[in-house]
Symmetry: C2
Subunit: 426 residues, 2 copies
């Protein structure tokens, strides 16, 4: 029976039952974590062989004779580009390989646009007064933190099942020159898990923008991170932008943080050749080059993009049961009571849970007190402010399955308790 249809007495009984169960869990003094989208140790073990691909000095020589132990090659090794270019469907000259953090590349790109403008003829963003940024949400907390730290006024854009509300984005971008960009995690989004539809991608590529220097930050972090063989397919935004006559509009980011190592992978960015040439011209002043030995490790381990895709099936085998454990728990414990909705992603690292309005903070608090750490309520919105206090990001990847199942039991118990409290107090 749905909670909203229960009598006060039925609700009281429901609440008491949830409370009793909650107290039992709490008494166990557990320490569980569903907070961050970290790969598990088992996943990291999958790439153990990467560490032995480059162990001798002679292993450090690239195909063109470059000694990867020495300076140079600011935009990444050609053979490493050849490995990753098909993943983003670009040519080598549309790609820059960086250090290990794609977040760092996004941050640096915005910093460069602030200080120097989006191209050599553009006015630096810093000289254009107070600027705004479009933030489809729920979204990735670290994206929002970047634009907040740079002083952008962030505008919430609701997320639909096929991507952000494009009517709203088109309307705002067309009329306001101070809107300079938009954050997107277009495939298996963080935290929604959804993939943008072809129509949404095309509208991004074709929409009119009042600002010539509007840029789409397309964080394709989960582009090969499927949870089932029958996976989502994302339309290629860079190609659509090119077709639409807006070739320089989008910059795509990715990394191997969830392919090889989350602390020691290879990050990358792709865009039009013009954008990449411009960024390279600035990058040449910033650094002599990234860690090419680590790029070489990736080439030697994965061999080519086919090898990388095969490798991702091993991640899938470890992640799919974890997602299933969470979804099973939610289906069994929450669905019957109508006190929450959630996504069932075909890939990525997150499940987005929407509690009854006004319950998210309470649920996260209850979980914390019972030893289950969740991403902070509100974190998936700009300024950490969820207007409905509803969204909670569930990250199933890190804990072992048995721990995860226990964490989900506690989570669903907390959802029941918080929902009943809310209804009784309203």
């Amino acid at each position: 029976m749905e909670l909203s249809k229960m009598s006060r007495a039925e609700l009281e009984a429901f609440k008491n039952e949830a409370q009793a169960k909650y107290d039992e869990y709490k008494a166990r003094g557990l320490s569980l974590n569903m907070a961050r989208g970290k790969p598990s140790a088992e996943q990291l073990d999958l790439t153990e062989g990467l560490l032995t691909t480059v162990v001798k000095s002679s292993d450090c020589i690239a195909d063109d004779g470059t000694d990867c132990r020495n300076y140079g090659v600011v935009d990444g090794l050609p053979e490493a580009k050849a490995l990753f270019a098909p993943m983003l469907n670009v040519t080598n000259d549309q790609l820059i390989l960086g250090g290990s953090s794609s977040l760092n590349m996004m941050y640096d790109t915005i910093a460069k646009f602030l200080l120097f403008g989006v191209n050599k003829d553009a006015k630096p963003w810093k000289d254009q007064g107070r600027l705004k940024w479009l933030c489809p949400c729920p979204g990735y907390d670290r994206h929002f933190l970047v634009t907040e730290s740079f002083g952008f006024e962030m505008i919430n854009i609701p997320m639909n099942a096929d991507g952000p509300d494009m009517d709203m984005i088109e309307k705002l971008a067309a009329q306001d020159e101070s809107i300079k960009g938009v954050w997107c995690v277009p495939m298996y989004g963080n935290p929604t898990g959804i993939t943008f539809s072809d129509e949404v991608v095309k509208r991004f590529a074709n929409m009119k923008t009042k600002a010539d220097d509007f840029r789409i930050f397309w964080d394709n972090a989960y582009c090969v991170h499927h949870l089932s063989d029958d996976h989502d397919v994302l339309l290629d935004l860079l190609a659509e932008c090119e077709k639409a006559g807006n070739p320089d509009r989008a910059i795509e980011f990715a990394s191997t943080s969830k392919i090889s190592y989350a602390g020691a992978g290879v990050a990358m960015m792709a865009s039009s050749k013009a954008n990449i040439d411009y960024i390279k011209s600035l990058l040449t002043v910033q650094t002599i080059g990234p860690d090419k030995i680590n790029q070489l490790r990736h080439v030697k381990f994965f061999k080519n993009f086919e090898g990388l895709k095969e490798h991702m099936k091993k991640h899938q085998a470890l992640l799919a049961p974890r997602f299933a454990a969470v979804l099973d728990g939610l289906d069994k414990e929450i669905a019957p009571y109508g006190i929450g909705s959630w996504t069932k992603p075909n890939g990525g690292y997150f499940i987005s849970f929407n509690a009854m309005n006004g319950c998210a903070k309470r649920i996260v608090e209850l979980c914390k007190e019972a030893g289950v750490v969740l991403t902070g309520a509100g974190a998936t919105f700009p300024y950490k402010k969820d207007p409905d206090d509803s969204n909670i990001r569930i990250a199933p990847s890190y804990p072992p399955v048995d721990e995860l199942k226990l964490a989900v039991e506690i989570f669903t118990t907390a959802v029941k308790l918080a929902s009943a409290e809310k209804l009784l107090n309203s």
Copy 2:
């Protein structure tokens, strides 16, 4: 006999002899390089064992249990900090370990000061109008390129035998609030090879600056890079700043680019705890963390700072004969004619050669045509403009000794030829 004392006929004969020798070299179609301060392959081979220190998943666990394959630890592994902190004479909480490039850290630090100010209460540099930067020169071309790209007006400061002209620096910094910083390579400077005297360091620490947010960028790139056992000692600027009541004035940078690998080492910055805490607060938005596996490789290979210092003796053994080869050539071929002066560094990667005024470009051009690549004339000055057209940076580290000797023969021949041309035409 000094060239300046020769008769025209003697000069003509000297020039013809140099020209004949030069033509012989040119006819050989050589390809030699004394341009960049790159370690040689032999030097890079010294660290081969570093690649085998972390080859299994279990090798990736840090002392505190941190799995270095996963996210986190934004300011660097504690045990890696413990390895490098003694090198800069700081505590772990005064140190940030980054990726592989210290140039990148310097660039990012200036970018942060531009966008956010030097501390949380300071006005961002970008909001303070046109700014200036002090540039002791000859200096490091990539430093000058960074401040040029950010739009600072760069002011040339002459270099003396014990460091930059402190009278001039003190005078300028005391009177002009738009002067925000100074570049220094205080030990075995690039390209002079000199080490700043205690007095110079103390004057830097104690001088009055009109700008509260004036910062010394102290690139201690060659702090353990001695060429003889009887080596230079640099006074600790951070400690002197602390003593002088200016604890936040200086930021020190270093890396293992010339200790382990020039493309895949560990970069670092050190300063007061207040500065480091502030930079960390910004860094936390920029990245989830650097490559900790590579930091761990360094810890396991060098063990501790004593181990690192021992290792540097192996570099010394490879570099000292190269420096000797250049200095011998200059002593024999140039000194008798009074057509150049040069430094005899006790460490670092460069010899700074001052030709007769107006000859540097011609010498570099002559060398290039005979197959010897040198750092471009002027590169050691802001805007690549050497007012005297005199300074040439010689980088002896990269070529094998026999190639280096040949390159020096060609170089000294070019100096002779250019000097004679100059005197005959003046």
